[in-house]
């Protein structure tokens, strides 16, 4: 064991620390800018623009945002409900499909796997899908339009199938000899053994639902059905000015928050993700390594 470091190691470490630190700072910087922007007063933004460190700490934007919280609360309600229902229901369907396709004694598993996988290779494109949704399934301005498209993904099913393949076959076989039905085997035996896979895929799905804005952009027309991210998008685009009760009592030295309100909205819409991030990060790291196992 050598205590003294070689010169090359010192050089390597120095370069490494510098590069990694710079990249990490670049990853963090936009977040800091948004947060500090949200705590700046509107006057300062108008006079001097956004900065990393505001001269004076101000809560105006948040006060304004929560003075009439209906829009934000509606957004949270839609997003939380869609995320919960979509993730639970999606996990149920994904795990059932994974279970069936992982069964070696199921004759059509290869054909059906390919039937599902093929949808990742070729698609009709956005427009035929959109017309299907609107004209034939009547999903314009329906919550189902936010829920259904994200319910299943071919990748998740393949991931689930691979995960369940690693569970010893003998478990299914012995349960069958004991007279257990297929659904019982799935529910009582395979599902509990698949919790790591379920957790990872569930988190990916939940993240997808939480960050979803495109479906709302295509299908949702009434404002009280906007999910959080789409509400944020509208606020940023200034198409929907966040309704506040501040506008009424303007004094000459008070500027109603508009720019800072956008930043506060960004913080409010992203907050839960950042808050939960430290707890869920390791599941994603694990999930990526499961995903590396090929179909």
């Amino acid at each position: 064991m050598k205590i003294r470091m070689e010169k090359s190691t010192v050089v390597f470490n120095a370069i490494g620390y510098i590069i990694i630190t710079i990249l990490a700072l670049l990853c963090l910087l936009p977040f800091l800018l948004i947060v500090s922007g949200s705590f700046t007063s509107e006057m300062e933004i108008i006079a001097e623009g956004f900065k990393l460190i505001p001269k004076k700490f101000s809560l105006d934007a948040y006060e304004a945002a929560f003075s009439n919280p209906k829009q934000i609360l509606d957004g949270y309600k839609v997003t939380v409900l869609v995320t919960l229902i979509g993730t639970l229901f999606g996990l149920f369907l994904t795990s059932m499909a994974g279970f069936v396709l992982s069964r070696k004694d199921f004759k059509y598993r290869d054909k059906l796997s390919f039937f599902i996988y093929f949808t990742t290779l070729f698609s009709g494109g956005l427009i035929p899908w959109y017309i299907m949704m609107v004209k034939y399934l009547d999903m314009k301005d329906s919550y189902l339009a936010l829920l259904l498209p994200g319910l299943l993904s071919a990748w998740n099913i393949i991931l689930m199938k691979n995960f369940m393949k690693s569970i010893p076959e003998s478990i299914t076989e012995s349960a069958k000899i004991d007279g257990a039905g297929e659904f019982t085997i799935y529910l009582k035996l395979i599902l509990p053994l698949s919790t790591p896979g379920l957790a990872t895929i569930g988190l990916f799905m939940a993240l997808g639902y939480w960050n979803e804005w495109f479906l709302a952009n295509l299908f949702i027309t009434s404002g009280d059905k906007y999910p959080l991210q789409f509400l944020l998008y509208k606020i940023l685009a200034s198409a929907a000015v966040l309704k506040t009760s501040v506008a009424g009592n303007l004094s000459p030295d008070f500027q109603a928050p508009a720019e800072t309100l956008k930043m506060a909205a960004a913080v409010i819409a992203t907050g839960p993700i950042i808050f939960l991030y430290p707890f869920v990060q390791r599941f994603f790291v694990k999930g990526l390594t499961i995903g590396a196992v090929k179909g």
């Binding site: 069936v100 035929p128 299943l152 789409f230 930043m263 819409a269 993700i273 390594t289």
Partner: protein
């Protein structure tokens, strides 16, 4: 047919369990494939699928002759190549440093920070772009004016947006890709490093002669797989960064944004479907080709 029915009867429950999934893909993936027929029509909403006037290849001819298709393809492909190369190289670099640098706390903290952008929505990326580049009070212009330099109106110049788009793409995927490369590095047996150290190899030599050669298959595989999707554009990124700013289309319009605009802005269903079909078809050809190549080189890594 008889054997199928027998099988169906024998495995009733299994079929029932996968039935909702199959129905989902039939409704949301396979039936819309029929809709590529719109690409050959002058679409009318009332007419629907087969009530619209059939015009053959006219939509494709227009896209091709007007140069739109060429510009879209060029943008989509070039952006993707830039994304793939820069992302993979930086991710590889980060993974090598993170696997070798001493200091567990430093490694954990920086890795967590670099993974963070993966978790946020593209709308937030749009918020970043607004905060940084808007002409009235964006951070960049604030800094410029504090330094006494003239401010720069980002929304009328096309030049910077290429770099902004590439930056945010790399930014968002850095942590994710680093984790994948890190896993590949961790799977290299310690014996190689030990043996090399005994032989007096320094760290640069170990990176050059152990880590790099061991990672080359992963690197090439990931690049190849990404090349299979080179015609697929990242709509979220382009739309949130550029939005509907027509001034910037020439250098920032990709197939996906064009298709979206055909649907939501110009209501040109036939043309949009044609561009989408072009993308799907050649994307399909591309991925089959890539898979064929992988199958030849490393058959265990083939997709199917």
């Amino acid at each position: 047919m008889k054997s199928f029915l027998q099988e169906m009867n024998r495995n009733k429950v299994l079929f029932l369990m996968i039935a909702p999934t199959l129905l989902f893909f039939i409704v949301f993936s396979y039936i819309p494939m029929v809709g590529v027929y719109y690409a050959f029509t002058r679409f009318s909403f009332d007419g629907g699928l087969f009530g619209s006037e059939f015009i053959g290849m006219k939509n494709f001819e227009f896209l091709f002759n007007s140069g739109v298709l060429w510009n879209l393809t060029k943008n989509t492909v070039l952006y993707n190549i830039a994304f793939i190369l820069i992302s993979n190289i930086l991710q590889l670099l980060c993974a090598i440093f993170l696997s070798e640098l001493p200091g567990k706390l430093f490694r954990k903290t920086t890795q967590s920070i670099m993974f963070l952008p993966f978790f946020v929505s593209f709308v937030l990326v749009g918020a970043f772009v607004f905060n940084l580049f808007n002409s009235d009070n964006g951070v960049v212009n604030t800094m410029l004016s504090q330094l006494g330099l003239p401010t720069y109106d980002f929304y009328v110049h096309t030049a910077p947006w290429k770099y902004i788009i590439v930056f945010f793409h790399v930014w968002k995927g850095l942590g994710y890709g680093t984790v994948i490369y890190l896993a590949a590095i961790m799977s290299i047996s310690d014996e190689y490093h030990e043996a090399a150290k005994i032989d007096g190899a320094n760290i640069f030599q170990r990176v050059r002669h152990i880590i790099m050669p061991m990672l080359v298959p992963t690197f090439i595989l990931l690049i190849l797989l990404s090349l299979g999707g080179i015609l697929k554009g990242q709509f979220d990124l382009f739309y949130q960064v550029i939005g509907n700013n027509g001034l910037l289309y020439n250098s920032t319009d990709i197939i996906d944004t064009y298709v979206y605009r055909s649907l939501a802005v110009n209501f040109d269903i036939g043309m949009g479907t044609a561009a989408g079909l072009y993308q799907s078809f050649f994307g399909f050809v591309l991925i089959i080709t890539v898979n064929y190549i992988i199958r030849k080189v490393r058959s265990d890594y083939a997709l199917f």
